[in-house]
Amino acid sequence: MTLTLKDQLDLTTLRKQFPILDQSVNGNPLIYLDNAATTQKPLAVISEINRYYTEDNANIHRGIHTMAERATTAYENTRKSVAQFINANESEEIIFTKGCTDSINLVAYSLGGYLLKPGDEVLISCMEHHSNIVPWQLICEKTKAVLKIMPINDKGELIFEEFLNLLSERTKIVSMVHISNTLGTINPVKEVIAAAHKWGAKVLIDGAQATPHNKIDVKSLNCDFYAFSGHKMYGPTGVGVLYGKRSLLEAIPPYQGGGEMIKEVSFTQTTYNEIPFKFEAGTPNIAGVTALNKAIEFVQSIGLGQISHHENALLLRATTQLSEIEGFQPMGTASEKASVISFNFEGVHPFDLGVLLDAKGIAIRTGHHCTQPLMDRFKVEGTARASFAIYNTFEEVDQFVSSLSNLIKKLR
């Protein structure tokens, strides 16, 4: 079913696919604005998890019985869907992981261990999530490579000239977030990738916040790796994706050892399986992967164009209304921005806002959002953050701003 969002009636229909939204929290109708942390799941995703365990549960790939074949088909069909969803060349370039963090750790460990020598450099930006910082710190410590930071301006945008100045023959890896979970900044990753490639560096893009909002085309971007999570795009938790170019996936060593990832094992020598299985040791989250397929179908049934159009309208409305409240201090005002709004109010701690909004049934996130270096850059301890998804309504935005405005008056 293709849904359009031209009027409120369609959004009402769409929300019926998310039964969790229809509940009271602390005596008030739930307003869920913590979508950058995780999105809610449509019925199709929830039903698929139930269906898989009710009808198809079996271990995949090596079983010769019918159920194993059905489970394998469902699992591998998702791989094909993901490849199509991000326009990969072939489904073998899609690796299933535990989540975006797991995908980044895989690249840091396997590519980093393969490429990095003492004195080599890895570039990340100042706006990275901890999951795109710490894995690189670990591998740099191990290989004696140097981690360098691309600076950002006061609007929360990459300072491109300074990034170009950081590139050199020592740069081996550039790893950057596509859309900042804290600032909402949409980074010019295509240009970053092209510039890094001129120096021969390999590029990983952290797309955790991008895949639910924007059409991703890994071929057009020409990234070497692209990582994202299922649960931030209406899919289940515990499932992530790593896209990698075939030549690189074949060249780098496995991340973890175990069943499935081997060709032959003996006590003297073990040979590894072909990609993508080389990187999928152990029994994976089969139900989660098959449910991810349903999440992709859900997103495609609406269309990423419609999704970003609606979310941008919500963002504009929230930003305009919040700006009218005295003392509003937005963090992240990039020209290219996704549906995340991070802010503080003078004299009010974001933690208090989060607790008091929760008492009114409004779920936002407060704190450093796993981006402590970014908080240091802006000299704040934390922010309050509202993030929107396709099912959020204009009425919810109005209610959120109105409740917030009243709280600010009370807390000052």
């Binding site: 005596g27 974001p350 208090d352 607790v355 009114k360 301890e381």
Partner: protein
């Protein structure tokens, strides 16, 4: 008034709010407002108890063989929480504090309105207050 009686008082007060989350938090904020001003000189890292998102400053002094606690926080909700502990534990002998069983958080359903992350911070505050009492107790026995 001993530690148990003070806790019973708090349980009774919150009981009047009938489990209403918003009213409970607002009451907590009011109680925090009533905390005695925290000495500016002590508002530094030496006296900090770090929570997940908020900071609490806490120190103790002995007056007439009683431990007096002073506390502050950078968030009004957390200030309310620590004010409850000051109310329960301040003004007792160190040994009473060390032996004091803090049971009021469960009785007022604090977990419901402060969440698990903040419960950890709350436990850290109790631990720090007992450590102050322990230090004073050891000093007194010397």
């Amino acid at each position: 008034m001993n530690i148990k009686v003070r806790q019973e008082e708090i349980i009774e007060e919150f009981g009047l709010l009938d489990g209403d989350l918003e009213m409970s938090i607002n009451y907590l904020i009011e109680l925090g407002d009533q905390l005695a001003p925290f000495p500016k000189n002590n508002k530094n890292d030496d006296f900090i108890v770090k929570g997940c998102q908020s900071k609490v400053w806490l120190f103790a002094q002995e007056e007439d063989q009683q431990v007096i606690f002073h506390a502050d926080s950078n968030t009004v909700v957390t200030k309310g929480l620590v004010s409850l502990l000051v109310r329960v534990l301040s003004g007792h002998r160190a040994e009473e504090i060390l032996n004091g069983d803090i049971y009021f958080p469960d009785k007022i359903g604090m977990g419901r309105f402060i969440g698990s992350q903040r419960s950890n911070g709350f436990s850290a505050m109790i631990k720090q207050m007992k450590l102050y009492a322990l230090a004073i107790n050891i000093k007194d026995k010397k």
